[in-house]
Symmetry: C2
Subunit: 274 residues, 2 copies
């Protein structure tokens, strides 16, 4: 195993949603070490402008680089939609977002060429999935819908409440009635609401979980670049956040699907713009 291969995978997100990607990385790549940075002091990125999100993404990446990561995973749909190309140009290491893997899975899965995409206002307004799916197959019809209440509902832990189902119907019925057969969960929070979202669409619509697809993409890139970590000591993951919000631990565990290890605090002032 090369020195480079023994280095950790770096993952950042605006907050804790990216922990659904970490959970999938841990499941699919159990030997890899992960350094996670959640920019909880400045979350959410969703409603913020492109320039602001780009600036934050550079600062988040610099932080991960200071921990010697071998690949950067942008585990945030908003940042992926506006900053992955920029980061790829700027840094000499692989950068993976969550958009391209989700788009690829959608294109492979649709049988009728009619795909739904749901996400935050920022992601939907950026049309990042539309662009990415269009690159792969320009004949696919794409219907987009922003669902601003899904993130707070997921963070509140109201995953199985009746009111969440009512809100899901409100947002998703137009997509369902349009006859899509695949829907991309274009926000790292949404896997938490998969059950409710699935109830609205029914079994004939396939849900694409971008956390799963992203972890698969990371595994492939590491393998093809000779950067997959070989056997060795069990990995010691490290988690950093720029703030420890109320109920952070409880919410984070819900997203990670496992008890949260120790978390270290990084102040916003320590996040330098190069």
């Amino acid at each position: 195993m090369s020195d480079a291969a023994s280095r950790p995978i770096g993952v950042f997100d605006s907050g804790i949603g990216g922990l659904t990607v970490v959970a999938e990385l841990m499941r699919q790549l159990p030997g890899e070490e992960i350094v996670y940075f959640g920019d909880t002091a400045r979350l959410p990125y969703g409603p913020k402008s492109e320039d602001t999100v780009k600036q934050f993404a550079v600062q988040d990446t610099e932080f991960l680089l200071s921990h010697g990561v071998k690949i950067v995973v942008v585990a945030c749909n908003t940042a992926s939609s506006v900053a992955v190309d920029d980061l790829t140009r700027r840094y000499d290491l692989p950068v993976t977002g969550v958009i391209a893997p989700g788009a690829l899975a959608a294109v492979s899965s649709t049988l009728i060429g009619k795909v739904g995409v749901i996400g935050t206002e920022g992601t939907i307004a950026s049309h990042a999935y539309r662009r990415e799916i269009g690159k792969l197959d320009r004949d696919i019809e794409i219907l987009e819908m922003s669902c601003p209440l899904f993130v707070p509902l997921a963070e509140e832990g109201w995953t199985d409440r009746e009111v969440t189902l009512v809100i899901a119907h409100e947002y998703l019925t137009p997509l369902r009635d349009a006859g899509i057969d695949v829907v991309v969960l274009g926000c790292t929070h949404y896997p938490i609401l998969k059950g409710t979202i699935g109830k609205v669409f029914g079994p004939s619509v396939k849900l694409i979980d971008s956390a799963e697809e992203t972890a698969r993409e990371v595994a492939e890139r590491l393998s093809s670049l000779g950067l997959a970590r070989g056997p060795g000591a069990p990995p010691e993951h490290r988690f950093f956040v720029s703030d420890v919000p109320h109920r952070f631990r409880e919410q984070a565990e819900r997203f990670l699907g496992a008890p949260l290890p120790n978390v270290s605090l990084v102040t916003v002032d320590e996040l330098a713009t190069p």
Copy 2:
């Protein structure tokens, strides 16, 4: 009129919620000029830690001071609950938060000595209203409830939807059943949801709108300090934000209750910590 009196009122908030306070200032003090700063790049402050919010509040205040304001209004419950004392010590000008005026109104209004307080998780966890009400009358019984979905519902503009009423019942029924006769709307977003909140509590519970109470407090302080602006040219308000989020104009107008004047952008990098 002294030079000092002709200077503007400074108002800051984590985002646009503070515009409900601006609307009240404009109504109660139509001759005063207002400089507003909304820290939309880093909103919301609600779920963030005390130290982070204190640091942001100092930066926001410094920005207003650079525009020569005569009083600083912290039009954000989270920042009011943790930073007003700190700002008052640090700066040589009057600083008013939204907590003390709301607490005073609650104490004056309750007939049975049983008061409800609703707000974001940050405000409720800080027990700022409990502390402030306790200072005025230690015999008052206080029931607190955080309502994390109210802010996104207000920003989504879902003020009159059935689902909003269902969520309001979920949060507020325990308070109503406990027999309070006054409830403090401890978040600048909540006046937007007054109708729905009032439906849950019914006519026997008085709703305290902290925007209204804060504007009254500002009027009194300016008058007693000889800082009230005399007759002159009509005021020219100025609005600054640290980011222009999607749907900003539409949401801001809903909070201000009037078309939004020109808004200038201030980048986070320009916000210096002294």
